[in-house]
Subunit: 206 residues, 2 copies
DNA sequence: TTATGTGAAAGTGTTCACAGCC
DNA sequence: GGCTGTGAACACTTTCACATAA
């Protein structure tokens, strides 16, 4: 049970499994079951077993899963056995908060480049990062080979900055601008817009 | 075609329709079609028509939809014909960035309360907000009747703060802590964890 | 006995395609 | 002619339930 195309919706759950497992490891658990993992995440045991079965047989009947082993397998599947470099594009309030966030490193990521087009911000230091001029962005991204960008620029320029990032070799964009980005096939975009989530919730409130 | 239970996945798309329509209005468009709206969002025309049909017949055959009218209908459906008050819990880097974000107001929300337990932050002003002591949180939330909270506290305390919020009458939580929150039935939680999205994307990169 | 991995069944969601109306 | 609203067809996802193995 290995080389089918695994549904994207399954891939989307794997990082959550990984997160729960890492928490279990921290708590000293050595073994777990689909039932226990599911209860922690609000997901059915059957779904967890089915999801994992796309990639191999990681459990032992009667026993469950080794926490450590399953973490390693998930990290391999998600290509997290390396540290991924990120470019931060736009260093406003949100970009600055992301630049200071300590939670990236032990989950597989680090910001290595930061850009802004505001002369007041260029040269500014945030931790070990120095904000660089957006004008040099394509060159610097190509030089460093960074493949993932976090986009925290105003919506009004998000699409044109995106085009520029794609042209420079970026292959995945985490978009914080409240707008749908158009990209060529093969480029991955995920959008985070908290207000869409708030508006989703208000449907259920009165 | 009105009073079925509308699938949650449909509700989740409505805010995106609203966002695209508001952009169209800004551009001066008075009329649109399911095709045009879909192209802007990367969604099929059939799906948009089907989604809207859960709530009524908003279009005219041969003509399409009035942008202004459809905006009004969606705002009514999502209960956005009022301004929703928000409580911000945790005023670290991310919480501060949210407090300063200008994009809430014209999409139906405003932050009216902010809390932290760090004495250095209590009393601090951010725009018109004053950071209050977490100890007074339940009382203040009850007084003001705020129903929605944005949770930007460390993962280690997120669950206990959540319990406290629910006890105080909060009915919806936008959770920024990288952890699965457990809440009683009827309480709505949406989680925003950028690293889950990054880890989802790396599956497709090499 | 316990808990996995998995076909089959059930349940959801999306797209098709066209009657009906502007 | 153009575009909506919608049953029917299709596709996808989840759950069930059990043979199998530790």
């Amino acid at each position: 049970m290995a080389e089918q195309v695994v549904p994207d919706i399954v891939i989307g759950r794997l990082p959550r499994y990984l997160q729960a497992l890492e928490r279990m490891r921290l708590e000293g658990l050595q073994t777990t079951s689909s039932l226990e993992l599911g209860q922690r995440l609000g997901i059915s045991a059957a779904q967890i077993r089915k999801d994992l079965s796309h990639f191999g047989e990681f459990g032992k009947q009667g026993t469950g899963y080794s926490v450590e082993f399953l973490i390693e397998q998930l990290r391999a599947i998600l290509h997290l056995n390396r540290l991924w470099d990120l470019a931060l594009v736009g260093v406003g309030d949100l970009g600055s908060a992301l630049a200071r966030y300590q939670g990236f490193t032990n989950r597989g990521f680090r910001i290595v480049l930061a850009f802004d087009n505001d002369p007041k911000k260029i040269g500014k230091r945030i931790g070990s990062l120095v904000v660089e001029d957006s004008a040099t962005m394509p060159e610097r991204i190509r030089q460093t080979g960074v493949k993932i960008a976090m986009l925290t620029v105003p919506a009004s320029v998000a699409q044109q900055v995106t085009d520029c990032l794609v042209e420079a070799g970026i292959r995945a964009i985490l978009n914080y601008a409240p707008i749908h980005l158009v990209v060529p096939p093969g480029i991955i975009v995920e959008t985070i817009d908290p207000i869409l989530k708030l508006q989703h919730m208000t449907y259920y409130l009165d």
